[in-house]
Symmetry: C2
Subunit: 181 residues, 2 copies
């Protein structure tokens, strides 16, 4: 509860003046973080950057948000604690955000900047890798949230680059018994 | 409980003859899936395949395991329901598995097959993307577990390829205001 108060910039004592209970508090944190993510998505969409640069920016913002900026922002990823009405609002925003990322990937594929892929699956891989980070990230650890964000963005967008060598990571590859190097 | 019985190939009626309670049941499923993952890791490690092919094979096995083969295998990813003693055993296997993937990535970087990266972070991105799939995968959906596994493996390993063009996804890139295409 204290974490949520800190993330919301509200003193714990005043918290119950603003929110009826835990459900509303949880909603506020989730909603704030999704708003930040949607702002970052929209900012990238409107920019004249390449698809690569847009996606790097979105992934970095996403990770900074869940690891650093909004402490309760990842709560919704592991809890279904919201009342149905509030849950629906969150799910709507979350779907809009995911759709935006999928469309950005599809546009990059269409322009030839990204390699052919299933944009819906790649979007989910990116979101899964990013969201999962709250399970293992340690703020006292060797790397800052910003460093994790940079490295993740770099790796996750690299997998889309049309300039990667496709032959060595072929479609429908069945491995284990592959040719020796 | 019925799912777990099915995954364990034991009739629900007999289940309590074998397990004292839910904790042991959960442990059995988690332990079985981790054993499968460790077998797949070991098989790849011993093969003469390239690092790319080894990693593709491991990711595909991981996804088939959590999405298809062992129905309760992902339970541990979202629940801390195990008694401390059993949790410790699972955590030990999970860490061994993660370490194996990290070492495989590091070896690929060292041989020049993979691009320079932080192997520990990339391993976590791969595991996060893969584990998160149990949150959205729908067995009745358009793609089978095997198809998701192939596409994920292809994308996730592609991000490591030393042949990808590094200049467009530079280290420490700060984006949003990047140069127009």
């Amino acid at each position: 509860m204290r974490d949520i108060a800190a993330a919301a910039d509200i003193s714990p004592g005043n918290l119950y003046n603003y929110f009826k209970g835990k459900g509303e508090l949880l909603f506020f944190c989730q909603d704030s973080s999704l708003d930040r993510m949607l702002v970052s998505l929209e900012k990238s969409r409107r920019s004249r950057a390449s698809a690569t640069e847009k996606l790097v920016s979105i992934i970095e913002s996403h990770l900074r948000c869940v690891l650093d900026e909004v402490e309760g922002s990842a709560a919704h990823l592991f809890a279904n604690g919201l009342p149905a009405r509030l849950h629906e609002q969150i799910a709507g925003k979350r779907d809009r955000y995911e759709r935006g990322i999928r469309n950005l990937i599809a546009a990059g594929v269409q322009s030839g900047e990204f390699a052919p892929c299933e944009p819906a699956l790649v979007a989910r891989a990116i979101l899964g890798a990013s969201n999962w980070s709250v399970r293992w990230f340690n703020p006292e650890g060797r790397l800052t949230a910003g460093e994790v964000a940079s490295e993740f963005a770099r790796y996750l967008v690299r997998g889309l680059s049309a300039k990667a060598e496709p032959s060595s990571v072929g479609r429908r590859k069945r491995s284990g018994k592959a040719a020796p190097r």
